[in-house]
């Protein structure tokens, strides 16, 4: 394995760990959402990194570049979908956070005592 690959993998793991840590320990709803976004970006990066081929180019037909050198286009297409869904989910979650603030007057998840189980 090349050093570049190790670097990318460590980067992916770091993003996932940071995102997970934020989701698990922070109390502010908006901070939790930021953590979720970092986590999601880490996973997206992982999928794109796995599709990379040593010395490959962008999978776009260009004069003078052989299509045999293209990197895997399939993970990129999948991640394109995931990014859009991420953005939509985040927008939805932020509007729920706005409603929560309006109901409880706080964004602290521990002070939202209306729900009981």
């Amino acid at each position: 394995m090349s050093d570049l690959g190790t670097l990318y993998y460590i980067n992916v793991v770091a993003m996932v760990v940071i995102g997970l840590y934020i989701v698990l320990t922070k109390r502010n709803v908006l901070k939790i959402l930021i953590g979720l976004d970092i986590l999601g970006t880490g996973v997206n990066l992982l999928i794109v990194v796995i599709g990379y081929i040593e010395g490959g180019t962008a999978p776009i037909y260009t004069a003078g570049i052989s299509p045999a050198k293209f990197v895997d286009p399939l993970p990129q297409a999948l991640v394109l979908t995931a990014i859009v869904i991420d953005a939509a989910v985040l927008a939805m979650a932020i509007s729920i956070a706005v409603r929560l603030y309006r109901e409880f007057g706080t964004l602290d998840v521990r002070k939202m005592r209306l729900l009981k189980w």
Binding site: M1, S2, L4, G5, T6, Y8, Y9, I10, V12, V13, A14, V16, V17, I18, L20, Y21, L24, T25, L46, V49, I50, Y52, I53, E54, G55, A58, P59, I60, Y61, T62, P67, F70, D72, P73, L74, Q76, A77, L80, T81, I83, V84, I85, A87, A88, V89, A91, M92, I94, S95, I96, V98, R99
Partner: protein, 235 residues
Amino acid sequence: MKKLKYVYKIAGLAIAVLLGYMLLQALMEIPFGTNRMFVAERFIFEEPYEVGAANTVTAIVVNYRGFDTLGEVTVLFIAATGVALLLHRERGIRLAPTETTLVVKTGARVLLPAVLLVGLYIFVHGHLTPGGGFPGGVIVASALILMYFAYEEYVAPRSMLHLLEGIAGLVFVIVGILGIIVYGRFLQNVFPLGDFGRLFSAGFIPIVYVAIGTKVGSELAGIIHDMIRRGGESE
């Protein structure tokens, strides 16, 4: 109480690091940078004759996985509707009104056409260059954020955005249904492939990507509008 807080933090960190370590161990088993394409190989080499788009990623997203993209656009639509439903309360009251200076206002007016043009370019050329309907639509929507930042009294034409959104979604579905009418398969290409690498090529991809760009742009603009204005006058 303060001690308990640290216990939670340490426990959270331990869980996160443990999961990260396991993930890293699993990842180290995957060799980096090697070719492990199965279906993608076929996509790359057959795509110029089947789809005719210079950008292979676009060919996969819009043509091979077109049905999935339709679902994705639907998810975005549902999210936009959800935001509108959740935040719809007071009429036309702007949250966080901002005082801006002449520099910001003039800058916004100068930049607005350029930003719109870049967004338009990116989604019209989606089958030739990097980008496509989704990033192009986001750039178009960002022009609206610029207007909201600069002008306190600015109101987006919400009903116009709704109309654009509906028309764009309809165009996508109609292109799909044309495939059923001609070949009996949903989203089968019925348009000529054209010259490879030209603007008018790749069958229905430019049409669908312009529709997606319009839809994403107007939906995200609608989300921003709902978040800033809560309701709005046009509804």
